[in-house]
Structures are given as structure tokens and as C-alpha cells.
């Protein structure tokens, strides 16, 4: 998905994990994914650099669809679609 498409996507759940460092965002994502339905989109906000690599790997393993990320000023939005 392009950045524009991601910015306009309907997000079922937004997880703000900017206040935690590795492995906090992953932990937050794991907790939140149970609260949405299959096929819905979740976004994770993270200020942790490592998360940019960790979340796609986690998606790959859990078979969620990693849609891409959008860089903001001091953090990153990571988007995924639940399997």
C-alpha cells in the first residue's frame, strides 16, 4: 500500500506504544491483536527504531498482512491487517 492509502485506511484499532522501548511495542501489539476481528486493520505507533523490523517479522510469523509504515516527526505508524 502507498503512504497515501495507508494514511486514509480505516483503522479498527490504534495502539500507542510510544511510551515503551523494545520489546514493549511488540507486547502491546500482541495484547491488542486479540481485540480486533480478522481482516480488520490495526496501527501501531512506536518511537522505537527496532520495532520497524520487529513488527514485520512478527506479522510474517503470525500470518498477519503487514501493510507498511508511515514516518511521522518523532515516531512511526505501522499498519497491519489481521489474518
Amino acid at each position: 500500500m502507498t503512504t497515501e492509502e495507508l494514511k486514509n485506511a480505516t483503522v479498527a484499532k490504534s495502539v500507542d506504544a510510544r511510551g515503551t522501548a523494545c520489546p514493549g511495542p511488540l507486547l502491546a501489539a500482541k495484547k491488542a491483536i486479540g481485540e480486533i476481528e480478522s481482516g480488520e486493520i490495526m496501527e501501531i505507533l512506536s518511537a522505537d527504531e527496532g520495532t520497524k523490523h520487529d513488527i514485520p517479522r512478527w506479522c510474517n510469523k503470525m500470518e498477519h498482512d503487514f501493510l507498511g509504515m508511515v514516518e511521522e516527526d518523532s515516531f512511526t505508524r505501522l499498519f497491519l491487517k489481521k489474518a
Partner: protein, 188 residues
């Protein structure tokens, strides 16, 4: 003629059973499981163990940490005072850190200045504290296996360990068999 056939069928059945057994064994040899043998009681090494465990458990990998020797200090609860220890056990109890918040650093300990600085930095960088990490690990179902032999050796009692939902007491053979089934093994 019929007897011959029956014998052949019997032999085939035996072969199938043998194959089934080896297939199960092979399937079990690479479970989505992480086994960690943690023998260090240094704060940095316990931190690394917990971070890796939480990351793995978040990815639905089954995690089993085998706590042995110096690492057992990290599992002590500073508010618990078990009775009935002999003299040497009491001495060990006094000399060893009482819980995860009293651990030393393997480098730059500087008489306790190092751990204080690390704790300050961890807070500043929003890293979970060891207390929070053990709580998260418990919520994720990370199993902690306490080596009974080193527990006895160091004079620790079950009553002085922290409250943790997945505590187990076992010996080295448990770690060896668990590790043999795991896709990844670590020694800390």
C-alpha cells in the same frame, strides 16, 4: 499360504508403528519453542534473558527458562524470610542478592553505582523494569523451571521465591529433553 500373508501383514504393521514413532520424534525435535539455561545472576544477563523471552512469547513461541546457580538470586523475594536454614545456608542467604532489584552488573558495577545508573537510564528510555518484565512474562505463559539441585546447594527454600504463575521445580534432564525439542536453545 494364508499364514504367510498374515505374517507379512503383521510385519508391515510393525514397520508402520516404527515409522509413526520416528515421525513423531522428528516432529517434536523442532517445536516452536525456546529453551534458555540461565545460570548468571548478573542484572544485565537476567535483563537479556527476560527481554528475549518476552519477545519470543509475544510471537507465540513457547518459552521455558531453566534457572540455575547464581540466577536463582533473581527469583528471591526480599520480603520473604524462610525459617529452618542451617548456618551455611543462612550465610549464603545474606551474601547473595535478595531479589532481582539487588543484582549486580557483570561490568561497571562500581559498588552499586552501575546498577543505579542503568535503572535510571532504563526509566529514561522507557525500558520495562525487571519487575514489569517478570509480570509480562507471567501473563504470556513463560515457564520458569528452577533447578532443584542448585537450590539445595545454595540453601534456598521454595518459600523465599517470588510469586510467579508458571513455576516448576526440576532437574537437568528436564532442561536437556526440553532443549532437545526446542527449535532454539540459549545459554546465559
Amino acid at each position: 499360504m494364508q499364514e504367510d500373508l498374515q505374517l507379512q501383514i503383521q510385519q508391515l504393521q510393525q514397520q508402520v508403528e516404527k515409522l509413526q514413532k520416528s515421525v513423531t520424534k522428528m516432529q517434536n525435535s523442532r517445536k516452536d519453542q525456546l529453551s534458555i539455561a540461565c545460570v548468571s545472576g548478573d542484572m544485565d544477563k537476567i535483563l537479556a534473558t527476560m527481554i528475549i523471552s518476552i519477545a519470543a512469547a509475544s510471537m507465540d513461541t513457547k518459552v521455558k527458562i531453566f534457572f540455575s546457580f547464581w540466577a536463582l538470586s533473581a527469583l528471591r523475594d526480599k520480603n520473604k524470610n524462610p525459617k529452618g536454614k542451617d548456618f551455611i545456608s543462612k550465610m549464603f542467604g545474606i551474601m547473595l542478592p535478595k531479589g532481582k532489584n539487588q543484582l549486580k552488573l557483570s561490568n561497571m558495577n562500581m559498588a552499586g553505582m552501575g546498577p543505579m545508573m542503568i535503572k535510571y537510564l532504563m526509566k529514561k528510555h522507557n525500558v520495562l523494569s525487571l519487575d514489569e518484565m517478570f509480570k509480562a512474562a507471567g501473563e504470556l505463559g513463560v515457564e520458569i523451571i528452577v533447578c532443584e539441585m542448585s537450590m539445595d546447594l545454595m540453601g534456598f527454600k521454595k518459600e523465599e521465591f517470588i510469586d510467579y504463575p508458571y513455576f516448576k521445580y526440576a532437574g537437568a534432564a528436564t532442561f536437556v529433553t526440553d532443549a532437545g525439542e526446542s527449535a532454539a536453545q540459549l545459554f546465559v
